[in-house]
């Protein structure tokens, strides 16, 4: 039984090509009937109510309130409702959303997986910095293809043994 969800960051505002590796990954993930959650930026300061709605594709859309995807949103409630224990983060590397959301996921007891080829950025230095930070503290760096292969096996993702230095 797979207990993982893919959470995308900033993909709604910055669409990707349909034939890109990430788009293919997301389509395959959907085809496996596994949960897909999109965190959307562009917070409306006049209305900081949490907005979550299911789109026609059954993907879950959640409006960001502040830096972390968990901060005053129902992301955790959605994950818990689906008995998710592993969060896979994919999307655009902008600001510190990847770091804050992954740290919050870790603090809330989820295993965090980030596929290096699932992070889009114009800055190789920022990507390197993110991956080093994740690997140093709690993140499991696994490629898109390896994640899909594991998901298709139907087994839960193995837990990374985390030892904070």
């Amino acid at each position: 039984m797979i207990d993982a969800a893919v959470v995308t960051l900033n993909l709604s505002e910055h669409p990707i090509a349909d034939d890109s590796d990430i788009a293919v990954f997301l389509e395959t993930w959907r085809a496996l009937s596994l949960p897909l959650i999109h965190l959307k930026g562009g917070t409306d300061k006049q209305d900081q109510q949490v907005q979550a709605a299911r789109s026609a594709s059954q993907d879950i859309q959640i409006q960001l309130v502040k830096e972390s995807g968990f901060y005053q949103t129902n992301l955790q409630a959605e994950l818990d409702r689906m008995n998710i224990r592993t969060v896979i983060l994919i999307g655009w590397l902008q600001g510190i959303l990847f770091q804050t959301t992954s740290a919050d996921a870790y603090f809330n007891g989820y295993q965090v997986i980030v596929p290096p080829d699932g992070v889009i950025t114009d800055s190789p230095e920022d990507l390197q910095s993110l991956l080093e930070w994740l690997e140093l503290y709690f993140g499991d760096l696994t490629s898109l293809q390896a994640i899909l292969q594991h998901a298709q096996s139907g087994q839960p993702f193995p837990e990374k043994q985390v030892e904070i230095p």
Binding site: S68, Y71, Q72, I96, Q99, T100, A103, F107
Partner: protein, 336 residues
């Protein structure tokens, strides 16, 4: 009071002003000694007094482990206590934005009362000003404090080569907590503020037989540990060495500081002391500090060298030495 929000008339000097002042005195209960005269006349039982003042503009007003009321008492009490004084009296001045909720004001005043009770100080005078919306951000507080000095004040002039540098607790937590609260970084539940009145712990130290071996101390606030140590180095003229591996740091604070690209030695705290202590009693001082709830993470982090020139050096985990530069222009605003 019947209103649920502060209005401009609460600062007019007329009836609503009187009602607000009476309300504040009522909430402060036994810690308020004011006689509603134009000044407070106070008994002092020491040949010298220490006086300090500070203004508090922290945002947000409420945070994990405290609020602006607690910080306004702790900040001034701690400034008195690190001089070797026994804090006795505080003044309390509020600048309130019209529209501020009175139930929130009550919570803050209760914090002032509870913290003053813990610190053993009395509020002896006060002032309340109300300004129009937008002229101040919700609430600013100023406190001034008076302490009795029964011994010669502690001074940086006492620092000698060989002295040890001791920290009473974790560094960086207060800053990371507030930054996380403001931006929703996700660390605010894991890293609480360390805001606390430290005069009880300091009195326990100075009242002990080894109290006379404590050369000087500072509360590690704005500018962090680096600023305190640079102040020491400038004053004594000797270089100081700190071991990175000894720094008391919460894991999540390291993680957040790393994420933000900030060195925790520059981060502000509100409940941490840095002490300079004669080497012969350093371990006893650490042991004594650890017996107090606010000193549980006390640790000896370094030493004063006999090298003139006044450098502040950090020995990293690989044994390499790096110069710690003084903080310039990176101060994070409104942390206290």
């Amino acid at each position: 009071m019947t209103e649920d929000r502060i209005v401009l008339d609460h600062g007019s000097g007329a009836k609503l002003s009187r009602l607000l002042v009476e309300h504040i005195a009522k909430v402060l209960e036994e810690v308020y000694l004011g006689e509603m005269e134009d000044s407070a006349c106070l008994p002092l039982l020491a040949p010298q007094i220490a006086v300090t003042t500070d203004s508090f503009v922290v945002t947000p007003l409420f945070f994990g482990g405290g609020d602006i009321g607690k910080i306004a008492v702790c900040g001034t009490v701690n400034d008195l206590a690190v001089s070797g004084a026994t804090p006795k009296y505080l003044t309390l001045s509020l600048v309130v934005e019209a529209g501020f909720r009175i139930d929130e004001l009550n919570v803050i005043l209760e914090s002032v009362r509870n913290t003053a009770l813990e610190a053993g100080v009395k509020i002896v005078a006060g002032d309340t000003k109300v300004v129009d919306r937008g002229e101040v951000d919700k609430l600013f507080i100023n406190t001034a404090g008076i302490g009795e000095l029964h011994h010669p004040p502690l001074s940086m002039r006492n620092i000698k080569p060989g002295d040890r540098i001791i920290l009473s607790g974790n560094i960086g937590d207060h800053s990371i907590h507030l930054l996380s609260l403001r931006a929703g970084l996700g660390f605010e539940q894991r890293v609480p503020s360390d805001c606390a009145p430290l005069n009880g712990m300091i009195a326990q130290l100075l009242g002990n037989d080894i109290g006379s071996t404590i050369k000087c101390m500072r509360d590690v606030t704005r500018g962090g540990l680096a600023s305190v140590l640079h102040e020491f180095v400038r004053s004594c003229g000797f270089s100081m060495y700190v071991e990175e591996s000894k720094l008391p740091l919460r894991e999540e604070t390291v993680m957040a500081a790393d994420m933000l690209g900030i060195n925790p030695i520059y981060l502000a705290n509100e409940g941490c002391l840095c002490l300079i202590v004669a080497p012969v009693t350093a371990s006893e001082v650490v042991t004594l500090l650890r017996e107090h709830p606010y000193g549980r993470n006390a640790v000896d982090i370094g030493w004063v060298s006999d090298t003139a020139g006044g450098e502040l050096m950090m020995q990293d985990n690989e044994g390499n030495l790096h110069r710690i530069e003084e903080l310039t222009g990176q101060e994070l605003p409104r942390l206290c």
